[in-house]
């Protein structure tokens, strides 16, 4: 009943949701980066498919940015940073894997329940794309909340951002998508430089209450 164009878009966007769920329970930094690279690769494919079916040539630029910058460059650089800083240990998680996955599934359900009724007038392609995109955004938020390490928070943010680019690419004829993905890339490049220059993650390793008080600047000196 659906066209092939719809099926492939559906497959790629759905794939991103699945990979987001995979990201939730990766407890080693290297594995997290590899899964993220897969996430970005799927985004590149999904965006180029949208470019093809919408005949929107500018979206190929966004797809190329996703491929080169997010799927190859950033994971490689982060990999090297982790190596240089010697922090390739397990990630401490706030809640357990089971609970985390349950929360993730609930968020996906929420995204679909919120998005489908609201977009009743749009085409099926746009609707499902948006629902998946919202699911990826919410899962990215969940990753950011449950992680303490700066590198994994950044991975969470980057997966969230992939969801946004997916949504923007799915909105037919939306202008400035390329500009927005460039703006996001600058943002991410800065975070990565920030991690390396400032070695922020060292301060995130321990979460003792006393440390948190110092962070708020209320009890020092």
């Amino acid at each position: 009943m659906h066209s092939l164009a719809f099926d492939i878009a559906h497959l790629l966007a759905g794939g991103m949701v699945v990979v987001s769920l995979l990201l939730l329970y990766q407890d080693r930094l290297y594995a997290l980066l590899n899964v993220y690279a897969l996430h970005a690769l799927l985004l590149a494919l999904a965006v180029s498919w949208q470019a093809y079916i919408q005949h929107a040539a500018h979206l190929y630029v966004t797809a190329a940015i996703a491929l080169v910058f997010k799927a190859i460059l950033i994971p490689t650089v982060l990999h090297r940073i982790i190596q240089r800083l010697g922090i390739h240990r397990t990630i401490e998680q706030v809640v357990g894997v089971g609970l985390n996955m349950l929360a993730g599934v609930a968020l996906v359900a929420l995204a679909i329940l919120v998005m489908l009724p609201v977009t009743a007038t749009a085409t099926a392609l746009v609707r499902e794309d948006l629902a998946f995109a919202l699911a990826v955004v919410l899962l990215g938020l969940l990753i950011m909340i449950t992680r303490r390490n700066a590198v994994s928070q950044v991975v969470g943010f980057m997966s969230l951002e992939n969801g946004l680019i997916l949504a923007a690419a799915g909105a037919r004829g939306m202008p400035l998508v390329v500009e927005i993905s460039i703006a996001f890339s600058v943002l991410i490049a800065l975070i990565v430089i920030g991690i390396f220059l400032f070695r922020i993650q060292e301060r995130f390793d321990t979460v003792e209450m006393q440390m948190l008080d110092t962070f708020r600047g209320e009890r020092q000196r």
Partner: protein, 482 residues
């Protein structure tokens, strides 16, 4: 296309952008500070000419009655802050907290921030607005972390993560607005232009707009610093250089609020969409009450005034949430007066912390004895920000409260409770700061008092006498805000 208006708008974007590049290349910090002042002065002049002549809106830039006043306010405060900044950084350099190479970076970022804020205010495209606010976030993150102490990096990181989350949610909302507009307006740039969106909003899908507004309110609300999304704000204010605290509180919060208000206008233009008022009233009230309670037990002077900014942003959001001509009028007035007062206070605080060598309130006592001018300036500022007559903020707070009493007496009760709590906390702190047993160094400071007293004088004048054309014009804008 109106010639002079177009030139002015171009100048507002080109001056900060080219100056930012130039400042990145120049190494003499004295010259950079002067160039910074000169560039902001030129931008201010360009902004003022917009009152006389405005360009027709095109698909990228728009100047209308609403944003022209924010543009002028933005460039005015950025000019006075650059004057204050010149004397502030000279001291930081002298005590070795900043090195010349960091200063070069600081000045370039200052102009980049001005460019981003001017672009956000001028943008006639919701995507461009988003990019500009993201750019503004980035430049301020870099400036908050400029001292490179563990606390400063921590604050910058927190601001960065929360700010990025905010802009990410706002982008999702922006995409949803585009999707709502696209079936009516058609594909492409017109479906993102303010003047077209607002004109045709009545035909948009209300369900999609509702969802979009929730994302936009939470997203840009994070940047406004509304509780419970405010966690970045006190740290970013406390750990960065004080001129940046002044610009953050005085300007950047307003720019984010401007985005929220534009989207609120869009929502009001659609009869079937959710009324945005109650959401804003709720967030505003929570911010006022929360920040007022947090004002007690602060022991860092910059954090104290950062919480006060959350309180005032709450009051403004509450006022616009109530809506109606009177409350909107009060909200518009409060934006301007809060900007002027809070940046004035931060000018004083910057020089006080430099004189005393500490931000701890316990080490800054008895200022009227050790540094009379700074002490009395701070006293005047706190009296204004606490909302005492005859200062202007009393007037705008009084208008908000009376507009609320007429319509929702219970809400007015809560708001007044919040205002009184904040009033008490500020006066409690002020007593020690200004009139307590003198603590710390009494060495005189090299300072320019002009920016601080100019701001406070404007606030005082506004409390006593508002020029009739200004009132008429505020009324006109308030009516449009719905």
């Amino acid at each position: 296309m109106n010639g002079t208006g177009f030139v002015a708008v171009t100048a507002l974007l080109v001056i900060p952008a080219t100056t930012a590049l130039l400042l990145g290349l120049l190494s003499s910090h004295q010259f950079s500070a002067r160039l910074n002042v000169g560039a902001t002065l030129l931008s201010l002049l360009a902004a003022v000419t917009l009152f006389k002549a405005r360009p027709e809106p095109n698909l990228y830039l728009l100047v209308d009655d609403f944003n022209v006043y924010l543009i002028v306010l933005n460039n005015l405060v950025s000019f006075t802050t650059s004057v204050f900044s010149a004397s502030y950084i000279a001291h930081e350099l002298a005590i070795g907290r900043l090195t010349p190479s960091y200063l070069r970076f600081y000045h370039a970022m200052y102009q980049a921030l001005m460019f981003a804020m001017n672009l956000a205010l001028l943008a006639n495209n919701i995507g461009l607005l988003w990019v500009a606010i993201e750019l503004a976030t980035l430049t301020t993150v870099l400036m908050v972390g400029i001292y490179r102490t563990p606390e400063a990096l921590e604050a910058a990181w927190k601001y960065f993560i929360l700010g990025s989350l905010g802009v990410a949610l706002a982008l999702f909302g922006t995409i949803l607005v585009y999707l709502a507009a696209q079936p009516v307006v058609g594909e492409g740039l017109p479906a993102m232009a303010w003047h077209i969106l607002i004109a045709k909003a009545n035909a948009f899908d209300p369900a999609l707009l509702n969802l979009a507004f929730v994302f936009l309110l939470l997203g840009y609300g994070t940047k406004v610093g509304l509780a419970p999304l405010h966690a970045w704000l006190p740290d970013a204010h406390a750990e960065g250089p004080t001129p940046i605290s002044a610009v953050l509180s005085g300007l950047l919060l307003n720019v984010a609020l401007y985005a929220v208000l534009r989207f609120k206008m869009l929502m009001s233009a659609n009869a079937a969409a959710l009324a945005p008022g109650p959401l804003m009233v709720g967030l505003g009230l929570v911010s006022v009450l929360f920040a007022s309670l947090m004002l007690y037990r602060r022991n860092d002077i910059k954090r104290l005034f950062a919480y006060s900014s959350i309180e005032h942003m709450g009051i403004i959001t509450f006022a616009f949430g109530m809506g109606g001509p009177l409350a909107n009028f009060a909200g518009l007035l409060h934006i301007a007066l809060h900007s002027l007062t809070k940046s004035g206070i931060f000018f004083a605080v910057g020089q006080i912390t430099q004189a005393k060598g500490s931000q701890r309130i316990s080490q800054i006592q008895g200022l009227t004895e050790t540094h009379p001018r700074l002490g009395w300036g701070l006293t005047l500022g706190v009296v204004a920000i606490a909302g005492m007559p005859p200062m202007g903020i009393f007037l705008s707070e009084f208008l908000v409260v009376s507009a609320t009493v007429a319509r929702e007496p219970l809400l007015a009760l809560l708001l007044v409770a919040g205002l009184l709590l904040a009033f008490g906390a500020l006066l409690l702190r002020l007593h020690g700061l200004a009139f307590g047993e003198p603590q710390g160094s009494a060495a005189p400071v090299q300072a320019s008092y002009l920016p601080m007293f100019m701001h406070l004088a404007l606030v005082l004048v506004a409390g006593i006498w508002l020029p009739a054309p200004l009132v008429a014009w505020f009324n006109h804008v308030a009516a449009r805000l719905g």
